[in-house]
Amino acid sequence: MKNADELCSLIQEIIDEASGHADEKVDPSTPLLISGLVDSLTIMRIVARVEQRIGISFPETEVVAANFRTPTALWDAIEAVKGASHSEGAV
């Protein structure tokens, strides 16, 4: 996964799996929390899937509202986690 658009497709995929159909298109600025698009299980699924695809460990402590407001916010958080794990050396 290389950018926020690809992240949007992943989120879309997970929401579609959960609800069986797509009502809304997820774009980088879709408000994920306010629209009620994602519930807690879906959030944890997004985190798990992102970890698998990118091969990072997303710390539990970063799973907070500020990082899930929009796909862009989540992408920024992913980049920050990637940066931190590079500078620390692989953990």
């Binding site: 799996e17 959960a18 609800s19 069986g20 929390l33 994602v38 519930d39 807690s40 299980l41 959030i43 944890m44 985190v47 798990a48 970890e51 698998q52 460990s57 710390p59 539990e60 402590t61 970063e62 799973v63 907070v64 509202a65 500020a66 899930f68």
Partner: protein
């Protein structure tokens, strides 16, 4: 290491834990819960960085080592409630917190590894167990960054005696995934009131009770992770619990199987040994099957955690493990009860199984039916809680 080598290394670790546990238990016969807890902890079970096993148990990872320790303690005849409490603190609290807490904060808790400080996990409330987002206990942030905790937790294992609680509370009024946060709360302060121990019928050796927080002030460093990350942390604590908590049952199951086999070999009726009936033999085989499945599943979870798999990634398999072991444990105990005849209902017969505690495993760490929903959802069914 070959699979066979690994098996005997595990067996050795279990045997050596059982040996030390037997001596710790006999030294503390009749003593209270905490004395026995501390005696068992002295063997290193609760140490976050266990001594790398040497000698015949060398090569096992820390989770497998702890698992073998729990199995050994049960095999030595420790009361089920004590095994459960040890497994619950080790796997359900210490393991998930380890990567999240700074060394300073871990230090501030006191001597958890040595068994001086007892932890508990306070999530459930009167109003809701399986639905954490419905909780009403709240932690309000103050201007200086500290929090004030108010509310009540119920049905908490070890609450009447624990020193520090991992307490989940809402830090936001909304019912959103980010409304919850976790705190480390010193339970020895006057603002925390404990109930008397509940008269519970399962796992009777460990007390359970409620905790009432009457405006407990918490320094900012008592917040675990960031504000709002409570549900993510809960996902991890529950994944650990579902994967590993039922390890507590393995030792007791082995003991019950052994004594049932002995009974079937010695009891005679219809002019022959009871164990020469095919139906009796088949029930014993079913018990062995349940124990085998449970043991393989839990050790597999431990191996995956030792290999560095993230608890979140194995949450679905952890749920399957929990359902399977919990239900096998009930079936196993029913078979033993049937084969013991009337003696299954006579307390000091040596054949009286505890029918209630295995059933309790269907409720804690996520009721089995709720876990079934999670499993089905993971398979793609559009089912929701």
């Amino acid at each position: 290491m070959t699979a066979q080598g690994q098996t005997s290394v595990v067996e050795n670790a279990v045997a050596s834990a059982a040996k030390s546990a037997r001596s710790a238990l006999s030294r503390t016969t009749g003593a209270d819960f905490r004395t026995r807890w501390k005696a068992l902890a002295a063997e290193g079970l609760l140490s976050d960085a266990p001594r790398p096993p040497s000698g015949r148990a060398a090569g096992l990872g820390p989770v497998t080592t702890a698992l073998a320790g729990i199995e050994g303690i049960g095999l030595a005849g420790a009361p089920a409630g004590l095994c459960y409490a040890l497994a619950s603190q080790r796997f359900g609290i210490q393991c998930p917190l380890r990567p999240v807490l700074s060394q300073e904060v871990r230090h501030s808790l006191g001597d958890v590894a040595g068994g001086d400080v007892l932890l508990c996990h306070a999530l459930t409330e009167e109003g809701g167990g399986s639905d954490p987002l419905s909780m009403s206990t709240s932690a309000e942030r103050q201007e200086d960054g500290s929090y004030v905790l108010t509310g009540m937790k119920a049905f908490v294992t070890a609450a009447p005696i624990a020193d520090v609680g991992l307490v989940f509370a809402r830090t936001s009024a909304d019912r959103t995934p980010f409304a919850l946060s976790a705190f480390l709360v010193d339970l020895r302060v006057p603002e925390v009131k404990r109930s008397d121990p509940f008269r519970k019928t399962a796992l009777t050796e460990v007390p359970m009770g409620s905790l009432t927080f009457g405006g407990v002030r918490l320094a900012p460093d008592r917040l675990v992770g960031h504000e709002g990350s409570g549900l993510a942390l809960l996902t991890v604590t529950t994944a650990w619990e579902r994967a590993m908590l039922l390890s507590y049952a393995l030792g007791p199951m082995r003991r019950v199987l052994e004594r049932t086999v002995d009974w079937c070999k010695s009891r005679e009726h219809f002019g022959r040994k009871m164990g020469s009936s095919h139906l009796v033999a088949a029930r014993v085989a079913d018990m062995a099957l349940a124990l085998h499945r449970s043991r393989e599943l839990v050790y597999r979870m431990a191996a995956r955690l030792d290999a560095g798999e993230r608890p979140r990634q194995l949450a679905a398999d952890a749920a399957l493990t929990k359902i399977s072991v919990a239900e096998d444990y009930v079936m196993f105990t029913q078979q033993a009860t049937m084969l013991g005849g009337v003696r299954s209902f006579i307390e000091d017969s040596g054949l009286c199984p505890d029918l209630i505690s295995p059933m309790a495993a269907s409720t804690y760490a996520g009721p089995n039916d709720l876990l079934r929903v999670t499993v089905a959802r993971e398979l793609g069914l559009p089912v929701e809680n």
